[in-house]
Amino acid sequence: MKATPTVLDPAGFELPPDQKAALRWTIYIGYFALTAGIFHGLAQALSYANIDILRFFPGLKGYYQGLTAHGVANALIFTFAFSNGFLPLMTARALGRPLVGWLVHAALATLVIGNVLVIYAVTTNQASVLFTAYAPLQAHWTFYFGLVLVVVSTWLALVNMLVVLRGWRREHPGARIPLLGYISVISYVMWLLASLPIAVSFLGFLLPWSLGLMQKIDPLLTRTLFWFTGHAIVYAWLLPAYVSWYALIPAQAGGRLISDSYTRVVFILFLILSIPTGFHHQYTDPGIPESMKAVHAVLTFGVVFPSFATAFSVVAALEIGGRARGGRGLLGWVAKLPWGDPSVVAQMLAMLAFVFGGVSGLINASFTMNQVIHNTTWIPGHFHLTVGAAVTLTHMGVAFWLIPYLTGRGLWSRGQALTSAWVYTIGVFIFSRGMISAGLEGMPRRTFRVAATYSNPAWDFGGMLTGIGGTLMFFGIAQFFVVIAMTALAGSRAGSPRDIPITETLTAPATTGWERHLDRLGLWVLVTVVLCVIAYGPFLLTYLPPKLVSPGYRLF
């Protein structure tokens, strides 16, 4: 089979230094947020093991303030700051064009200001409403406005990528978009569409209500708008990891990607199916017809399909790498994979965790079965395997080459980098095993268990595993932070990668026939919008106008 490079400019392309610096700081914000969030994460895990360490947190007013900080820092800021740096960088590199300078800086500035506002609101205990911000619990307006700015910064990053893409298309009429650029852009296009409902919720309801411009709010409508965005947001965290798995990891492991078009189809399926699935987070909610919940259940099962496809493609690409490195036999290639390369190892562990994350997610989506586990610790057990492992470990693995690439300094300690990934992985498996089993026994999520006035001995074993696993996760991330900080501050000037690792595909993108339509982003956006209208239209048409019934409550 003849390999066709996906890169048009094999000589490499480097961004102007000021753009590179801005993207580097954007990504630093993400890793700072990750590290800031794990301290209360540890307190939460230990609370489930009936150990209270909150007295060691000076200035913290309560468990739920810390829980809000953990969710916001680790689920929102870490993920989007990483994507805001990573995706524009991939787009620029794949298309061999610089970004728009002022947009790079504007996105960073917006992200910083948004963060400052959110940090103010959370640290002063004026926003202990958790990252889901369910009304009618009411936070200070700076919390909502800060998060809006974080979202606006993602929009600015996307606009930048689209400008680059348009410029490239003008210069290459009729040519196929290079794969890495294509999947990077489509990841954030999906997020743009997905973010519109939450923008309506925050700008149209929560923000004016927190400012006193609106007396009352509709709790079910704002919650529904949150989950209209809220399932796709998970895919917005995941797709940048998929970008790395598809377009970078095979090259790092010495393999190749099987099919170009196939990869594009997978990303289009994620674009189309990620958003119209939000009701599966609201199966136990009143006020939403059961029939519409059923429609979303089927669509949620649909979005599993591209992940099945990914499992095959990515593992096949790794197998090609393992065999190219001398692996023989049915499974002999596994041993030949680069187990000494922390970047590859962290991401292979991420893939392994995602198998279990995916399976437990399918159970969550399973309609009436969801009633057994809804809002129990099963749910955080599940999503620490997805965002907390598949995404986090991938972003750790990417950091092991990306930070050297961006700083021009070699990775500080390969051994410590490897250890951090393994410790975190072992931790997250023990943690999730505990959360999942205790969840099946009804242990509630988002609950300060140490201080709860009810208990159940059936939770003790799972709670203990949660505490042990969570402690290991804490040390894994702490070590990761040391590795990254030491790399940036003291890494050797030699030994940093000159270019990003771009994968070749075995089958080149077709330049004739139907496959060219895969590059018509406008068409697929239209399909997505139509599907969203089908999934949410009947509910909204019969539900609206908003039922403004609830005043704000500050119970923290």
Binding site: T453, V549, Y553
Partner: protein, 155 residues
């Protein structure tokens, strides 16, 4: 677009697993009659105490072997805090919240519902075994969230 044979097989198998799971769900909800909460009316959360049936919370018989359990969630307790129902009877829970969003999870059962201000939550359940079941509020509802629980005594 070339799809490898192994890949084709893998994807068909994956698709078949999904279809089988969906078939099981259809059997569960249509065949076994397990339902999720659906539209069941709206209410002014600030007037819960004077709006029927929530003006008289508690258990009442509504038919032969059929009961309605009317309960209100408010920070940080359920009203009534404890109810008694017979085993083997059809119990319809009729619930709402008087302030913020609360959860209603009956340990060891599939009774798991959200109480959202402005909405009435209904779902039906039949207890097979007598015993004491703890109701846990499993949605964050303020600083006292972890002290919010109730009890169902099945006789």
């Amino acid at each position: 677009m070339k799809v490898h044979t192994y890949e084709r097989v893998f994807l068909w198998l994956g698709g078949a697993v999904l279809v089988a799971c969906l078939a099981a769900l259809v059997y569960g909800s249509v065949g076994l009659g397990l339902h999720l909460p659906t539209k069941a009316g709206t209410i002014d959360p600030q007037a819960v105490a004077v709006t029927p049936p929530f003006d008289r919370p508690g258990v009442r018989q509504v038919g032969p072997n059929a009961y309605e359990a009317v309960m209100i969630g408010r920070i940080w307790s359920f009203t009534p805090a404890q109810i008694e129902v017979p085993a083997g009877a059809d119990i319809t829970f009729v619930l709402t919240s008087a302030d913020v969003i609360h959860g209603f999870n009956l340990e060891g059962t599939r009774v798991n519902m959200m109480l959202i201000p402005g909405q009435i939550t209904r779902n039906r359940y039949r207890f097979k075994e007598p015993g004491e079941y703890t109701i846990i509020c499993h949605e964050y509802c303020g600083v006292g969230h972890h002290t919010m629980y109730g009890k169902v005594v099945v006789k």
